[in-house]
Amino acid sequence: MAKMGILIDITKCIGCGACEKACKMRNDLPTGLENNLSATAYTVVQERRPGMYVRRMCMHCENPTCVSVCPVGAFTKTAAGPVTYDKDKCIGCRYCMYSCPFSVPKYQWDRVVPYVQKCYLCADRIAEGSEPACTAACPTGASIFGERDALIEDAKKRIRDNPSRYTDHIYGVQEVGGTSVLYLSSVPFDKLGEPFTMQLPHKPLPLYTWAALEKVPTIVVVGGVVLTGIWWITSRRDEVKKFEERTQQHHWWQAGMKKDDTHKGGERR
């Protein structure tokens, strides 16, 4: 299946909140618009500058941090693009929340049995050949759904055709190795607030920890061999010492000379 994605054109967003309402209805979340992403708002529209609305949602990274950090593999990057969450596997360590570069996963802090909540790009609707509820609801085409490659071409064309309207950057093509959700803006992204102001590397974040994790088998094998070797040498040394002591007892004429050593040897097991 082709890799799908969403293109969010900030210049076209009028801040009506239709996407958020559609999302809440689709996911049976309590109605009422919210200011920030939360356990009950998988997407929100925020007025970051006068008349400039930024829609926030899960970026659905190409190489997602959450997928890599989760100790039980509760997150999955699906072939079609969505990053989905299995609430039954989750143990609630919240490492995904701590490490997500976009601070997307949210938690049900008030529940006795809490789950992580985030946008899953309506993965079930995409699987049926449909599109996410939010893009379907957008009245201005500020959020459109399509194949990621096609969306990038579309975004490039928009910048080319209208260089005065856009800053020359498609956010999400390279950030942390690329994301399925892409942004176009009229002002430079570092003037749009978080998460855009954060200096994110172009290298996928999971590679940073993999650099350490890939050494684990080596440490186990080398450690095992070296430690066993050291133990063998030290125990052999003790055996030899013991043997020499015993021999000394037979050769009574030597025993007196090594009296001190024999005494020391008594400390051993």
Partner: protein, 384 residues
């Protein structure tokens, strides 16, 4: 005698208050959720329980694997008297980490999931497995002391046959997870403050864990001597301090080299909150202890070694809390200070650890040599 009312002392009152608060907040945490007890939020999902109870706790229990390495693998018999207290601390420390996890995990009843659901790309997965296996290793290692007390000699002998492979496994597992706790933070290069974020975090975590392991063993010995009348000879503690000087000097050197390599050495002098915290932490954890150990009067007195170790332990705790909490505050867009409930639970767990140690030291042969030496000046037969 049976119905005698225990003497009421200041310590007992303090412990009673801590236990009462601990139980109270435990009930709230499990009946009303994490939000009711903690100051954690979506912006700040990790707090005192992860930072102190889990990440710091594992480090503080590192003494066990180092002493086991010295005694079983390198066969340095001199340190045998320290072995049992160190293994006891390790076992209790890791047990408390496991209990701390049960408080912190949202779905604590699914704590066993990493056994079944695997993700080898996750550092947390590796840490979970290592801690699980190492806790088992420590339990087996310490079980000999319990079997000895129960006079189950055949069980003690059975474990003893396995002691070398167990120790080797323990050293490997400890090396892996002590360093991996640092690897946990490799994935937040843009969130963690530049003085702390380094590709060498795993190495720093490992070396500082070794250093604090020595310090913890020294502190326990001093406190046990003081309150239980059982401890370790001064010359052994002095030997540990000597090795620790090398470890700390190495730590300080690689820290400075790393800062210089990354071109952030100048940030040490900045007056930013994080920089000041970094400086205090480094002073307390490494520089002051190194300077103290230069003084012969400190090196050769139990009290001096205790105070030096106290600095190392406090500095170590600061270091871990700085990385897990302080270092990510700026990028989180919020500030965090643990709620009273979080502190109460952490203090409760530490108190439980102290009580368990005192209990074990009283009723089991933990400080085996000092005790026996006075009774029997002849050769002592000891297996563990």
């Amino acid at each position: 005698m049976l119905f005698r009312i225990p003497k009421i002392t200041l310590w007992r009152i303090i412990i009673a208050v801590i236990v009462t608060l601990g139980i109270y907040y435990t009930v709230i945490r499990y009946t009303r959720g994490l939000g009711a007890v903690t100051n954690l939020s979506d912006k700040f999902p990790w707090g005192l329980w992860v930072g102190f109870d889990v990440i710091t706790g594992v480090g503080l229990a590192a003494g066990a694997f180092i002493i086991a390495l010295a005694v079983y693998i390198f066969r340095i018999d001199t340190y045998r008297p320290i072995l049992r207290p160190a293994i006891l601390t390790g076992f209790l420390g890791y047990s408390l980490v496991a209990v701390g996890l049960l408080y912190d995990l949202g779905k604590w009843f699914d704590v066993w999931h990493p056994i079944v659901f695997w993700n080898p790309h996750s550092v947390m997965f590796e840490v979970a497995w290592c801690v699980m296996l190492y806790l088992s290793v420590l339990a087996l290692e310490f079980s000999t002391v319990v079997f000895e007390r129960l006079r189950l000699n055949f069980l003690k002998q059975a474990i003893h046959l396995l002691i070398i492979p167990l120790s080797i496994l323990g050293v490997i597992l400890s090396t892996l997870h002590q360093s991996s706790l640092g690897s946990l933070f490799l994935i937040v290069p843009s969130k963690l403050y530049e003085l702390w974020y380094s590709p060498y975090l795993p190495l720093f975590f490992f070396v500082s864990a070794v250093s604090v392991g020595f310090a913890m063993v020294t502190m326990e010995s001093f406190l046990s001597q003081r309150f239980l009348g059982k401890g370790i000879e001064l010359n052994l503690l002095n030997g540990l301090a000597r090795v620790n000087v090398l470890v700390m000097a190495f730590y300080l050197t690689i820290k400075i080299l790393d800062l210089a390599n990354r071109g952030v050495l100048g940030a040490v002098l900045s007056l930013r909150f994080e920089s000041v915290m970094f400086d205090i932490e480094t002073m307390v954890q490494v520089i002051i202890p190194l300077l103290l150990l230069l003084i012969p009067a400190v090196r050769t007195s139990a009290r001096g070694l205790f105070i030096t170790s106290l600095f190392i332990v406090i500095g170590f705790i600061m270091n871990r809390l700085d990385i897990a909490i302080t270092g990510v505050e700026a990028s989180s867009g919020t500030s965090y200070f643990p709620a009273f409930g979080e502190i109460a639970i952490s203090v409760f767990l530490v108190t439980m650890g102290f009580l368990a140690f005192a209990f074990a030291a009283t009723y089991l042969n933990v400080f085996v040599h000092v005790q026996k030496k006075e009774e029997t000046p002849v050769e002592i037969i000891h297996d563990v």
